[in-house]
Amino acid sequence: MKRYSSRRLFSGRISFLIDKHAGKKMAVLLLLLFLLLTASAALGDIKLSLPAVFHTFIGGGTDFDQLVVYSFRMPRMVVALLAGMALAAAGAILQGLVRNPLASPDIIGLTAGASAAVVGFLTIFSNESNALTVSIQWLPLAAFFGAAVAALAIYLFAWKNGVSPVRLVLIGIGVAALMQAIKTMLMILGPIHQAAKANIWLTGTVNGASWKDVAVLAPWTIVLLAAAFLAARHVNIQELGDELAVNAGARVEWQRLLLIILATGLVGGAVAFAGGIGFVGLMAPHMARRLVGSAFGALLPASALIGAMLVMAADLAGRTLFLPLEVPAGVFTAGIGAPYFIYLLFRMK
């Protein structure tokens, strides 16, 4: 029996390949995500009971419950959710694109570009008394700008009668090293207070997220995710290899450029609001692939859901396990991601 079936929309103009049982599996993922949301809302410095949380969700609850859930916890949960989705989707796209299961935004240098831009921003726009001279609101834009510059550099340098996947990854590693050097340099030249601040950011945390952040990140991520979902059908054919894809009528280079732009946009948004939360873009697509197969119609949404859960769980662990210390979420994703990565390497043929 075939595992995948195709769905056609708009009288066959757009078609998706999708795992036959994807629907059920996605429902389970959604349920898990909701449970995690509830737990996230209930746990922390102040503990709420589950009934109280449900009550608050549907609009009831005491003023205090409302305050804790909606003002303190919800914004960072939503930012974690969106950042996780974005990173995971970007990772899924990149892995398909370079036909390498180990590719992810952190390994090919997009995250490093964003990080360097953030440190640069903090160094350039601060005065002697360590205060920022411009609004912190501009910081996310700087992060996105950095990721875009890195992506552009990688793409341009990798271009040689087209962009081969292998070259793309290698150049990415080189560019990441350069960004790292720039970042270190800026951190040493800047005042130590800013260095510490930048370092917290770079490890990845959603601590201190507000509804204002959500208002910017949500539309950005949702639009890009939708676009990625539509463009993702190209990934499946790219996975066959350039020659086959060209023979099958795919405009390989254009689609690759489009997909890279989408991935960059997703990463830029996520890094801007949550910092460099590593290994999510690597792990989530793999987990999703085991669950729903490699047909992108289901893989992309499943990756996004798993990514969201990973970041939310990491944040939950970070703010509950070591109270009163708050450990950045990025430490946990790296802690899970590293062993997972080594497992992947051993499994790889």
Binding site: N100, L102, A103, D106, I107, F157, A158, K160, S164, V166, R167, V169, L170, I171, I173, G174, V175, A176, A177, L178, Q180, A181, I182, T184, M185, M187, I188, L189, I192, A195, A196, N199, I200, L202, T203, G278, F279, L282, L325, V327, P328, G330, V331, A334, G335, G337, A338, F341, I342, L345, F346, M348, K349
Partner: protein, 332 residues
């Protein structure tokens, strides 16, 4: 192919350049000193600031730059042969990041903060990373392709630096202490530190030279080497040991300095050929030249402050890396 005399000439030329650059490194810098002052600092020491700077700052610095540059270059050359990967080097394969993580762990969890402890931990970290790399590269049926190994190294490096950053977030005081070390620098190290490490570097270098012939055979391919009666497993293990000694020792003294291990072996191969008996010593000399020169440059770029020399080598090295990636293994 160059004649033997030509190769010997290159080696001698390299050695002379190293000595000249070391002299330059001793004389030029932020504190104003002259050649005669440098001469008198060693023959008729009078305790003046200039003489002190020359004896206790500039001289160790020049020696360390030479030793570290040479070691990193030789380690890179061995790694490139061993992994058949033109992009292999201690930094790309995650060895530097491993050392950095161990140093931060020792500092922030155990409170070690002497430079000897830094050195020891960096040494252990490098060994762990090399072991990890070899374990990973020999797993699976036919081992790892150069491409996979490069990616694996990058991911290991990412993992280690993520942990390092996480630790530093929780311990701001530690951040202040290790930031400059983590960037890679040969400045402000005492001569005793080098004295403690130099036996390891020397042992690594000697081991590498002893293995040179075998590496020539290994470079022809594993099957050929085995067919010629070479114990490839043993040779690989010994080579790995040489790399740990060389790279670990270097990181211990100077912190993670990147790209020398990539650039130099390529240049050396171009000039002196692929025979490891010539290639390894020549790589060593070129590595020393590059790092001393980069270190002198690092003093002048943003005077009166200094750029960490690791940043300098990255800025020089990345374009080179990209050049190799474009023409090298990307086309296969």
């Amino acid at each position: 192919m160059k004649s033997k005399a030509g190769k010997l000439g290159l080696l001698i030329g390299g050695a002379v350049s190293v000595v000249l650059l070391m002299a330059l490194s001793i004389v030029y810098g932020y504190t104003n000193t002259s050649w005669s002052m440098a001469y008198h600092a060693f023959t008729a020491f009078d305790g003046s600031t200039e003489h002190l700077v020359i004896q206790s700052v500039r001289l160790p610095r020049a020696l360390i730059a030479a030793a570290v540059g040479a070691s990193l270059a030789i380690a890179g050359a061995i790694l490139q042969t061993l992994t058949k990967n033109p992009l292999a080097s201690p930094d790309i394969l995650g060895i530097n990041a491993g050392a950095g993580f161990f140093v931060v762990v020792s500092l922030s969890l155990f409170g070690f903060n002497s430079s000897q402890a830094f050195a020891l931990m960096a040494f252990i970290g490098s060994a762990v990373a090399v072991f990890l790399m070899f374990a990973i590269s020999s797993a699976g049926r036919e081992g790892m392709t150069p491409m996979k190994l490069t990616l694996a190294g990058a991911a290991i490096a990412a993992m280690f630096s993520s942990f390092t950053q996480g630790l530093l977030v929780l311990d701001e005081a530690a951040l202040d202490q290790v930031l400059f070390w983590l960037a890679g620098s040969v400045q402000g190290r005492k001569l005793e530190l080098l004295q403690g490490i130099i036996p390891y570097l020397a042992a690594g270098g000697t081991l590498a030279l002893l293995l040179a012939r075998k590496l020539n055979v290994l470079a022809m391919g594993e099957d050929v080497a085995r067919g010629l009666g070479l114990k490839t497993g043993l040779i690989k293990l010994l080579s790995a040991l040489a790399v740990v000694l060389l790279a670990g020792g270097s990181v211990a003294v100077a912190g993670p300095i990147g790209f020398i291990g990539i650039i130099i072996p390529h240049l050396a191969k171009k000039w002196i050929g692929t025979d490891h008996r010539w290639l390894l010593p020549f790589s060593g000399l070129l590595g020393a030249i590059l790092l001393i020169a980069a270190d002198i440059g690092a003093r002048y770029v943003i005077m009166p402050q200094e750029v960490p020399v690791g940043v300098m080598t990255a800025v020089i090295g990345v374009p080179f890396f990209i050049y190799i990636a474009r023409k090298g293994i990307g086309t296969k």
